[in-house]
């Protein structure tokens, strides 16, 4: 077999941390050696078809990095070390290197992704190119069809584009789940120019990396989504607001913009049309609250990133008072698929009211952690046990925290609920941007609530009373309970504050910040009682100061 082979090495943050750069170097060295010697693998059979080593974005299976995939054979290797490079090169075109393959739950070695339980029930729409191409090469993106949808969109009327997005039913992936098509239609309906498009790449949830993986792994598809939006609503300027710690994502996106401009895709003429689009990268303000849309707009305008008080939508009055569409990274990256295949095609995946797929960062006490993408409506059980392989060390599952710091903790009795926007809300949690943290029996739920409240107390803007003072009290009371100083009357105070925060706070941070407390009170009340009555932490986490 002398087909051209590509060796895709994951060089996203997780795999780099486990040493993938050294693997790239070793693979290249071994290739050079093999080519020089005229032996080994494909290079031996056909010296003109040299395999290519590519550095790609995240393959998802971060707990088993560095990940290496050989294409087109679809052979994936895990926990690859530089010393494995020779064996991999030698095996090209022949038998895979057995010891580097994943061993499934039954102990079988599996070569392809289809047979790997971590991947087999996933569905990659948003992540279609992440891990499959070199994000620094525009040609790679083009060869996978990126910008074809933008081309198509330029032949459509704005109305046609928007109605496809509406038909797809796609809802915003940044948290609130507002229908993207409706948002675009509202902005398109205003005639006061200029209009703006903002990409929300602030991803402030601790431990989340969904959006980062897309920005770093498939920058041109993100840009394509932004450009289609701009064409649809009539915007000529777009801002990509990216979290300040994301140095690679910032660099990758800046480079992608330059490359796309040089190729005539963006800039004064979008793909040769009469549309223009300037895209700028803005470095985030560094506070969690800057991910909130009106705080982000203030931050781009150069003001302090605080949510605004006005009851007005940014589609009407956004950046510099002009109509503005603000969407999340994952929302944008889905758009080219919708334009290419039609809204109805997209709407086939997912549930009645939540269409398409959702990307999650599955972390915590779980065997197979990483970046996953599943159809909306997949149950928590499927995610945790089928994809994630369950809890390591034969421990018991206790809770899953979804939705970022102001999401909720759901217990095992809810494992069979489908994951979609409305169901999660119904049970007191939320989709958020897609963090999922699995907790086992050694996790204290009171301490967990305390942890999130502490984060939010530091990260809220501090402007309005229910959120700022409410969080201060919640933190104080929860800390007391964890220290064995809690009283039953405190639980009533907690509930009163939670209600006031939820109803009377100024922005969605405060309105959701009580979720960790509300859900742990609801589903793990017995743990609070144990702490208060018996001064005992059932999980053995809190030190109570008194002898047990």
């Amino acid at each position: 077999m002398s087909a051209k082979r590509t060796i895709l090495v994951c060089c996203d943050t997780g795999c780099i941390a486990s040493g993938s750069k050294a693997v790239v170097t070793a693979l290249k060295e071994q290739l050079a050696l093999a080519a020089a010697a005229g032996v080994a693998g494909a290079a031996a059979t056909d010296a003109t078809v040299e395999p290519l080593v590519k550095q790609t974005g995240c393959h998802g299976f971060c707990g088993y990095g560095p990940v290496v995939k050989v294409m087109p054979d679809d052979i994936s290797y895990y926990r690859v070390k530089p010393k494995d490079a020779a064996a991999i090169i030698e095996s090209l075109g022949g038998e895979p290197v057995e010891r580097l393959l994943y061993r499934d739950d039954a102990g079988q070695r599996v070569t392809g992704r289809e047979e790997n339980p971590f991947y087999s029930s996933q569905k990659k729409l948003a992540l279609r190119n992440v891990g499959e191409l070199d994000p620094e090469l525009l040609d790679d993106a083009l060869s996978r069809g990126v910008y074809e949808s933008l081309k198509k969109a330029l032949t459509m009327t704005p109305e046609e584009i928007i109605s496809q997005v509406e038909r797809s039913g796609i809802r915003g992936r940044g948290g609130a789940g507002f229908p993207a098509g409706r948002k675009w239609r509202i902005a398109a309906g205003y005639n006061n120019n200029p209009k703006y498009v903002i990409l929300n790449g602030d991803e402030g949830d601790p431990g989340a990396f969904m959006d980062r993986s897309m920005l770093e792994g498939d920058p041109h598809s993100v840009l394509e989504g932004v450009a289609i939006c701009a064409v649809a609503v009539g915007a000529t300027d777009a801002y990509l607001y990216i979290r300040d710690e994301y140095t690679t994502a910032l660099r990758t996106m800046k480079q992608a913009i330059l490359d796309a401009e040089a190729a005539g895709i963006l800039g004064d003429s979008v793909l040769g049309s009469d549309k223009q689009l300037r895209v700028q990268v803005v470095r985030g303000g560094g506070a969690f609250v800057c991910g909130e849309s009106s705080a982000m707009i203030a931050s781009i305008e150069g003001a302090v990133g605080e949510p605004r008080a006005k009851y007005i939508r940014s589609t009407q009055e956004g950046l510099w008072g002009q109509p503005t569409v603000l969407n999340n990274v994952e929302t944008f990256i889905n758009i080219p698929l919708i334009i290419a295949n039609g809204g109805d095609w997209y709407a086939q995946t997912g549930t009645d009211k939540s269409k398409g797929t959702k990307v999650f960062a599955l972390v915590g006490k779980i065997k197979r952690s990483g970046l996953i993408e599943v159809p909306m409506g997949t149950t928590l059980r499927e995610i945790i046990f089928d994809i994630g392989g369950g809890i390591p060390g034969n421990r018991r599952f206790k809770a899953i925290q979804t939705g970022g710091p102001s999401g909720g903790c759901l217990p095992d009795s809810l494992l069979d609920v489908p994951v979609d926007f409305d169901t999660l809300l119904e049970y007191g949690s939320m989709m958020g941007s897609g963090g999922m943290i699995v907790m086992d029996e050694r996790t204290c739920m009171v301490e967990t609530a305390r942890y999130y409240v502490e984060f939010l107390a530091r990260e809220c803007c501090g402007k309005c009373v229910p959120c700022r003072e409410g969080l201060r009290w919640l933190l104080d009371i929860l800390t007391r309970i964890c220290e064995g100083e809690g009283e039953f009357a405190d639980l009533e105070i907690l509930e009163g504050i939670c209600e006031t925060m939820t109803l009377a706070s100024r922005c969605a941070l405060g309105k959701t910040a009580a979720n960790p407390v509300i859900t742990t009170l609801r589903y793990f009340h017995d743990e609070y009682e144990e702490h208060i009555t018996h001064k005992r932490c059932p999980a053995g986490v809190c030190r109570m100061g008194v002898a047990p």
Binding site: A309, L456, E459, G462, E469, W473, D476, I493
Partner: protein, 248 residues
Amino acid sequence: MTVNLMIDGLACEAAPGQHVLDVARQNGVEIPTLCHHEALAGQACCRLCVVEIEEASGSRDVVVSCTYPAKEGLKVSTNSEQVRRLRRTVLTLLAERAPLAEGALPAYCQEYGVTGYDLRFTVDKDEKCILCGLCTKACAELGNSAIETTLRGVDKQVAPPFDEPPAACIGCASCAEVCPTGAIACEDADGVRTIWEKEFELLRCEACGKPFATAEELAWLKERLLDTELNLAYCPSCRGKMSLKDLT
């Protein structure tokens, strides 16, 4: 053009976009506020002015009346059991934060039966500031921005830059005037004003002899009012009398 809305069952007319709080007050419906100031609208941070609303479409929500726009067919309920409960929690939180606050806050606490501060949650027993932000906004609107809110989250505070006597302060005391809780110390004694740890000499009115403004404040006014005939040697009240005399 006007819009029609109901506030506590009372039919009211409003200009579109006029805030519900203003419409309510025009119609004699009282809603408690702390961070609202007519000249510095839009703070919307104390959240004491919460009301329940029902839109013409039937959707219901809890909003703050000081920034919520009046709309056709809106129904507002300013004093429901839920609204009162939310206000009581807000007042409790504030009372605990600023136990020495003066003025409207303790009065509202009394009105809403918020007693028995649970002093476990008080960080500073001498605190008066509720962080309404009116002082910094007033100062910024005057173009001085001598004081600012710093830090975020539960650590937010009002302070001059670097916690030093603020260089840009002209001693006009606008901040102290708009403060609803008496949190900003400003003292005029023996012809000297002390504010933000700075001392300003007070100039006397050439007509009545009363100290009325700091030299820095007058210099600031002069700079901004280049073309006016205002005689800055006189205090506002004497100035008023004089122009009347001039007219007659």
